[in-house]
Symmetry: C2
Subunit: 210 residues, 2 copies
DNA sequence: TCCAATCCTGACCATATGGTCAAGAGAAGC
DNA sequence: GCTTCTCTTGACCATATGGTCAGGATTGGA
């Protein structure tokens, strides 16, 4: 919100502008979808002339790619919490916490991701087939290890992961529905804590980790 | 697929054409989003000239409204299975089965619904505030009764419902992602059964119903 | 101060899209 | 057969949109 107190260097300008545009684009893509988003809307949201957007991002699709890719990175790194854990209660609990926090802090990004996947992942299909697949296989193996060690019930690791993704992202993607059912008001801090606790309680008990 | 063996009456023609158009529209809206969908695409999918669409549905928005409303009806009726039950294991188990079946049979509809809600429910906000809210309050009360009767663990009924919606709809909305992680192949019958079983096992155990 | 590189932007263009319309085809009732 | 109503559709229009471009402003360095 406040202007920087120094004259930015050239390279800084580029980075700042790109960040500004990407942030505006994320919001517009989330609210209108790829097809419904217009460069003009994004430009207005960023407070820049439309032509300026095309100076930094040649095409709408390139801008969209960047938005989706950036989100994907955040996604993957959320799982670090899971790896360091010694067992499912700690690991999966931490993962739920991390993903719920992302849903809370990056609802736009979550929606863009959801839209992209729902439309057949035209842009990030290669990511799904490489990064996400590798990531998933690693966690499936980790969960299977926990099962083999008797630390949790023998559930299908893949479906457990799907459930974790679905449940945590629901609070971002369907946030509007939840808000409406919450009397039209966004969840309070306390309610977010209750949500996290509910999710963790049901799932951790459901997999026999507590 | 087969043509009717009688000459359809006038009113039948209207109904048949509307159904045909709605079906095509559902698919296109699901795959491209509202903004990305074009009347021409829908017309091609239905095998009709574009102008013919406008004869039955004045505007794109009106057509979209009908699609969303029709889906919503299916949604609500899926819960009948839950009401007749005597306890959570039976009731919630049946609800999961029903919703998983809908995800399998109506993936397009689920995506359209998800898109609509993600974009702030511009078209069905009134439904959320009336039908869905009433419906939800009823089930929350039902679940609370089960809790009070000691038939399940004291979980927050609202968050349990969110989890049920999220998990079951994930198999439709993120079907493409699941398919990719499944080696690029759609889930087989057996895998769908395994998915249902996994979801039910984790959730029913998670709420202390089994 | 001068130069080159980067950044900015109003005006413009080709195209795609939602929607219209008038004329015609086909069926139902008399 | 004649009339009336419903249905069909190619041609057309106004507008919105992604993208271009030429020229100007600004900045950093020599």
């Amino acid at each position: 919100m406040t202007a920087p107190d120094r004259t930015p260097r050239r390279t800084d300008i580029r980075r700042e502008r790109e960040t500004l545009i990407l942030s505006a684009a994320e919001k517009v893509f989330a609210e209108a979808g790829y097809g419904g988003a217009t460069m003009q809307l994004i430009a207005d949201m960023a407070g820049l002339p439309k032509a300026n957007l095309h100076y930094y991002f040649a095409t709408k699709e390139e801008l969209y790619r960047r938005v989706v890719r950036d989100i994907f990175e955040i996604w993957l790194h959320a799982a670090d919490s899971m790896d360091a854990a010694t067992g499912p209660a700690e690991g999966i609990g931490a993962y739920i916490d991390a993903k719920m926090e992302i849903s809370r802090l990056h609802p736009h990004g979550s929606k863009v991701w959801a839209s992209e996947v729902m439309h057949g992942a035209p842009v990030i299909q290669d990511y799904l087939e490489t990064s996400l697949r590798d990531w998933t296989q690693g966690r499936v193996a980790l969960i299977q290890r926990w099962i083999d060690e008797g630390k949790m019930a023998p559930v299908d690791p893949s479906h457990l992961l799907y459930m974790l993704w679905a449940t945590t992202q629901h609070y971002a993607d369907f946030g509007h529905q939840i808000e409406t059912l919450n009397g039209g008001k966004p969840l309070t801090d306390r309610q977010w804590q209750a949500a996290k606790a509910s999710v963790k309680a049901i799932i951790l008990r459901g997999i026999g980790a507590i």
